[in-house]
Amino acid sequence: MSVTSQPTATPETVARGAVESVLAVGARPARPSGLAASLTFWWRAMLKIKHVPEQLFDVTMFPVMFLLMFTYLFGGALAGSTGAYLQEVLPGILVMTVAMITMYTGLTLNRDIQKGVHDRFRSLPIWRPSTLVGPLLADGVRYTLASAVILGLGLVLGFRPEAGVGGVVAAIGLLLVFCFSLSWIWTALGIVMRSEQALMGVSMMVLFPLTFVSNVFVPPETLPSWLEAFVNVNPITLLVTAMRGLIHGHAVAGEIGTVLVVSAGLIVLFGPLTMLVYRRKA
């Protein structure tokens, strides 16, 4: 396997003999499974975090800012005290923050495609969706990190999950499932949109109403009926309700089931759509 028995290249030079011997042993191994390829792309995303740790800024600072801002801004007015408000608003902010950072999935993909490296991946005989699934799995790490930051700060501020560790873990699990599904919207857009700025604009336009016009900050009953109707079918509302249930020990199977169905629906709809635009992409 080694080329040392052949004429070796000294640093910075290319020896034709060495190149020839390396070519002579370049046998093709068996094609990797879809899972193996996806995990390799997950590894690539981890390496990028290692080399460019600044990219974690938004998953750590965003949550801190949101939690402090909304707890103290609305706490007194809406729930009488910040302590009481925190119990209800923290699961909401968890959802809101992580839903917001899902849009970076699309931005990263969009940037990748603008560069040549994506062409190389596309010209390999691998399971096609793995180039998208791998990064989505890596985003799971970012989502978990953001959740941990919020929970950690929440505990310091007085957040007390009644269902204990088990409930919190289940809630985060549900959040990850939903956000993984939601991300497929951004991968589809990330492929279609021509520029990062345009993509950012569209993502914001979808995410802001979705996260704010929900039950994250206020109970829907206080809203005008037409708005209440929207809030009640908003997937973010459904998720927040299910997560509050899990965290505080009043989970309803139906609520969790609904979130899982919505998640599956997103994948069924946007997964193939993403692959379609991916194949069509010039």
Binding site: R16, L23, K48
Partner: protein, 337 residues
């Protein structure tokens, strides 16, 4: 040539972007085991054509097969046998050279151990061992090109596409890339390379397709292309540039051909259809006391081929040559006076 002997077979390939017909009815046959050069100026459609052959772009019309597999309907079979080194960076610049090669090794299906060993061997052979642990964005142009090509041969491909592999490289780095191409051929890999440099096609490629505006405008071996332009060319350099006017008149009469004045103030050249007139023309110069520093009688250079085929000099497109070296000189019968 039957399709089974061809590594690449292209028939009437078309791709347009809006109103631009980037590739406009391209035909191409590349014999297995050969180096085929696709020569064309900026915007000729080279990259677009290669991207279609590498299954990255879907043709609008026409058909292309690679080792008999259709690039649209059997894309996966094509992908498993070819590699492509794009015109622009085709590795992840945030990762190190070693990480990039291991990543690709894993994607081809190597175990972690095998991928690491393969990466080490490739880095060694390409003279990149010292830079292996640095992010690719810190590499020089020549190193970047080498890591790009190394990334394309993590698994030895049966066919490799090299899109302008030496554009922007200094002569030393370019020579290194040429050595790699020769090693690829020796290992039995078919090479399809695009270039804007006539001398590169002349040096490396057995057959050359000249393309312009998305179409092949000439095809053949380098000698065939040259022969299609004229039987030969006479290049003369005088000792005294002052005598060029006189030499021009004498040669024009003796050869009965138009004489070209070169950029070098002491040099002239002419296409000759009857080589026997050359010795007569040279003795005319000697008789008139015009002293010759050297002369060469050879086939026309590919520059002259390009000029004849497109009506435009190829220098127009290659002004950004990094080394300022003139394109290929006449190849035969160099004589010093």
């Amino acid at each position: 040539m039957t399709p089974s002997e061809s590594a690449v077979s292209v028939d009437g390939l078309v791709k347009h972007f809006g109103t631009t017909r980037a590739v406009d009815g391209l035909d191409l046959e590349v014999a297995t085991g050969s180096v085929h050069g696709v020569l064309g100026p900026n915007g000729a459609g080279k990259t677009t054509a290669i991207r279609m052959l590498a299954t990255l772009l879907r043709p609008d019309a026409g058909r292309a097969t690679v080792f008999g597999h259709d690039v649209v309907t059997a894309a996966d079979e094509v992908r498993s046998r070819v590699s492509m080194t794009g015109q622009f960076a085709s590795v992840d610049e945030d990762l190190t050279g070693r990480e990039n090669l291991i990543l690709l090794g894993r994607l081809w299906g190597h175990t972690r151990q095998a991928a690491k060993a393969r990466a080490a061997d490739l880095l060694e052979a390409f003279g990149l061992t010292e830079a292996a642990g640095r992010q690719v964005k810190t590499y020089s142009g020549g190193m970047r090109r080498r890591i790009d090509i190394a990334a394309s041969i993590v698994v030895t491909p049966d066919l490799i596409f090299l899109d302008e592999p030496t554009t922007g490289l200094d002569p030393r780095s370019r020579n290194q890339v040429w050595e790699i191409v020769r090693a690829l051929v020796a290992a039995g890999t078919t090479v399809l390379l695009t270039t804007q440099y006539l001398d590169e096609a002349d040096q490396l490629a057995e057959r050359i397709s000249v393309i312009d505006h998305g179409k092949v405008i000439a095809e053949g071996t380098s000698s065939q292309l040259k022969a299609s332009v004229g039987t030969g060319a006479l290049h003369v350099r005088l000792l005294d540039p002052q005598q060029r006017g006189q030499a021009e008149r004498l040669l024009a009469t003796a050869l009965a051909e138009p004489i070209r004045l070169e950029a070098d103030p002491a040099a002239l050249s002419a296409t000759v259809s009857d080589p026997r007139r050359v010795s007569y023309a040279l003795s005319e110069l000697a008789d008139a006391g015009v002293e010759i520093a050297n002369f060469a009688l050879g086939q026309p250079s590919l520059d002259e081929v390009f000029l004849t085929l497109t009506g435009r000099p190829a220098e127009d497109q290659s002004v950004d040559r990094p080394d300022g070296e003139p394109p290929s000189a006449p190849t035969t019968e160099e004589v010093r006076a």
